[in-house]
Each structure stands twice: as C-alpha cells, then as structure tokens.
C-alpha cells in the first residue's frame, strides 16, 4: 500500500487548513486557507484515483483545480474592489 502515507498527509493537511479557515483572524487568512484546501483536494483526488485503481478520477481533479482557481480569483476581486470603494468614499482623516 504505497499510497497510504501521502493520502494520510493530504487528509491531515486539509484538516489543518480547515482549522486555519475557521480560526483565521482576517478575511485574507480564510481565503488563503480555502485556496490551500482546494489545491490539497486536487492532489487528494489524484492520489485516490490511483489508490482505487480508477484513473477517471483524474478528470474530477482537473475540473476541481479549474473551479478552485476561478472561485479564489472571484472572491479576491470582489473584496478588493469593495475595499477600494470604501477607501474612496471615506474621507482621509477618518481612517
């Protein structure tokens, strides 16, 4: 069973990333943790594809990588433009 250490390490790391996403003091810590969780999910799906002997799972991993990237970029774009709008609207002395 040569896939066992890597699958265990990926599962533990996904748990650590979820803990950081729940704890994370700022919004960007949570985004970072969810990005890490997504890329680890891609690797986990790829490892499970070989563990269970079904290479079709690699398609799921590829699709998850695409969705994860688009999702992170969309969330960051939304919060960045919201932050810039807020800085533009409040006068300089109040910040």
């Amino acid at each position: 069973m040569i896939y066992l250490p890597v699958v265990l390490a990926l599962l533990v790391t996904m748990g650590l990333a979820l803990a950081r996403a729940l704890l994370g003091p700022s919004l960007y810590d949570r985004v970072l943790a969810m990005n890490l969780f997504g890329t680890k999910t891609v690797l986990f799906l790829a490892a499970v594809a070989f563990l269970s002997g079904r290479p079709d799972f690699l398609d799921l991993a590829l699709a998850y990588a695409l969705i994860n990237f688009i999702g992170v970029m969309a969330v960051l774009q939304f919060f960045q433009s919201r932050e810039l709008r807020r800085q533009y609207e409040t006068p300089r002395g109040e910040r």
Binding site: V6, V42, A46
Partner: protein, 111 residues
C-alpha cells in the same frame, strides 16, 4: 524494474506528503498573514511537484500521465497567480508585514 519504479515513486510521494504536511502545519502555526502565505507556497511547489511525479511513475505511458501533466502545468501556473492576487488585495486593504512600519517611516523621512 517494476519494484524499482514502485520504490522510487513511494519515496517521492512520501517526501511530497511530508512537504504538504509541513506547509499545512506552517499555515496553522505561523504568526501573521504573509508568513502563512510563505508556508502555503511550500505545499504548492515542493509538495505538488513530488506527489505528481510519484503518481506519474505509477501511471506509465497512458492517458493518466497526460492528465497528471495537465494538472501539474495548470497548478504551477495558477498558484503564483492566486498568491499574487491574495497579497495584492491584502496590501491594498492595509495589511502590512510585521516590521514593515519601520520601512514605511524610513521612506517617509527619506522623501
């Protein structure tokens, strides 16, 4: 030959799993955002490369190898992009790395 490939891919995948675990531990334990991003980048380069390389040795010359190469190329292209977007958004919203206040003050005194 088969057992040699199995042994090499076991070593590669275990080292990759170690990199991934170290990065996850760093993301949980590091003190502030930019050091956490540094820890996360360990998993996106070392961990990803080693794990996918170990899986590719198991795949042999097949369609699975092409899909693994696509995953590798795509993640190597997108993870720096999202790291840049994250750091840019955090800097614009006023986050600063620890110790950067001194640099800001020095720049203001200089100009």
């Amino acid at each position: 030959m088969e057992t040699a490939f199995d042994a090499i891919s076991f070593v590669l995948m275990t080292l990759g799993g170690l990199c991934v675990f170290i990065g996850g531990l760093g993301v949980l334990r590091m003190p502030e955002l930019f050091t956490r991003m540094h820890a996360a980048s360990v998993t996106d380069t070392g961990g990803l490369g080693l794990v996918v390389l170990g899986l590719a040795l198991q795949a042999g010359w097949s369609l699975a190898l092409v899909k693994l190469a696509a995953i590798l190329v795509f993640l190597f292209a997108t993870s720096p992009t999202s790291a840049y977007a994250l750091a840019n958004a955090a800097l614009l919203s006023g986050h600063r790395p620890e110790g950067a206040e001194r640099l800001d003050e020095a720049a203001e005194r200089g100009s």
